[in-house]
């Protein structure tokens, strides 16, 4: 998959790469807290992320400045996409769309 500089922001996430992408997609609709993210991701993919996986990915995204915690009274902070996170998500989705289109075109010609 061809990568851009923004796309590379998600590169060193290891096994948290896919959960991190799903979190970014979930937050693209607006700020959410952890429970809301798991429900949203389950609705999109049919997979419910465990808390260990969810917060492993969340901590990485926050440490790299791709998401940010919003202040909350009950300390269950909602998270929102940062500008950097939005650019990284757009870049990764563009790359995935390119791969998907290429695959579909080749399958159609097969």
């Amino acid at each position: 998959m061809r990568q851009t500089k923004n796309d590379a922001e998600l590169d060193d996430f290891g096994r948290f790469s896919e959960p991190a992408l799903l979190i970014l997609v979930s937050l693209a609709e607006g700020p959410r807290h952890g429970y809301s993210m798991t429900e949203d991701i389950a609705a999109i993919t049919g997979v419910r992320l465990g808390p260990g996986t969810l917060y492993g990915a969340l901590a990485r995204l926050e440490a790299r400045g791709l998401i940010a915690a919003l202040k909350s009274e009950d300390r269950r902070n909602p998270y929102q996409l940062t500008a950097l996170g939005e650019r990284a998500l757009r870049a990764r989705l563009d790359a995935m769309i390119t791969v998907a289109r290429t695959g579909q075109r080749r399958l159609a010609n097969a």
Binding site: H33, G34, Y35, T38, R48, G50, P51, G52, T53, L54, Y55, G56, L58, A59, R60, E62, A63, R64, G65, A68, D74, R75, R76, N77
Partner: protein, 172 residues
């Protein structure tokens, strides 16, 4: 299930503990969920993200409060900040321990299949690895006797706890 949170580093719990507990409480208890949480705990010890966070970086702080804030952060972390060498040695010891436990478990299973004492070894091995990493890293500058006492005490307690669980499970 909230007791599993104790396996995470103190600074991590301080930052994510409450929201993590809320997500944990919302999911049905299962072996897969326990493994997910244990894997997350090992990852949080091996790859602590919080100290590298751009918003929490102690290096960004200036002024008279820097020393106080650094002391608070160290207390919240449950020990001194780890050097690369500390982390490397602790990781190596954890990997070696995992291999020893795996060999021991496989060998004992062949000799004593389905014995509660052997099953307890299996269940104790996961939290024990996190314990071995944490104690090795954070107690490295303590006297050798302290290290041995704390580590052996922690591992023994962990094993006895799991053994009690297995014995109760065998009776039911």
């Amino acid at each position: 299930m909230n007791w599993l949170l104790r396996l995470y580093p103190a600074r991590w719990r301080e930052r994510y503990g409450e929201e993590f507990a809320a997500v944990l409480a919302s999911q049905r208890a299962s072996p897969g969920l326990v493994l997910d949480v244990l894997g997350g705990a090992v990852d949080a010890h091996l790859h602590p993200q919080i100290q590298h966070s751009r918003s929490n970086s102690i290096e960004d702080l200036t002024g008279d409060d820097t020393m106080t804030l650094e002391m608070l952060q160290r207390c919240a972390a449950g020990g001194p900040r780890l050097s690369a060498s500390d982390r490397r040695i602790a990781s190596l010891l954890m990997i070696l321990s995992a291999l020893v436990m795996a060999v021991l478990y496989i060998g004992l299973t062949k000799i004593y299949p389905a014995a509660p004492a052997v099953q307890a070894l299996f269940y104790a091995s996961f939290p024990s690895l996190a314990l071995i990493y944490g104690q090795t890293a954070y107690l490295r500058k303590r006297p050798r006797l302290t290290q041995v006492f704390v580590l052996a005490g922690g591992l023994s307690t962990m094993y006895l706890f799991m053994l009690a669980g297995c014995l109760i499970g065998a009776k039911l």
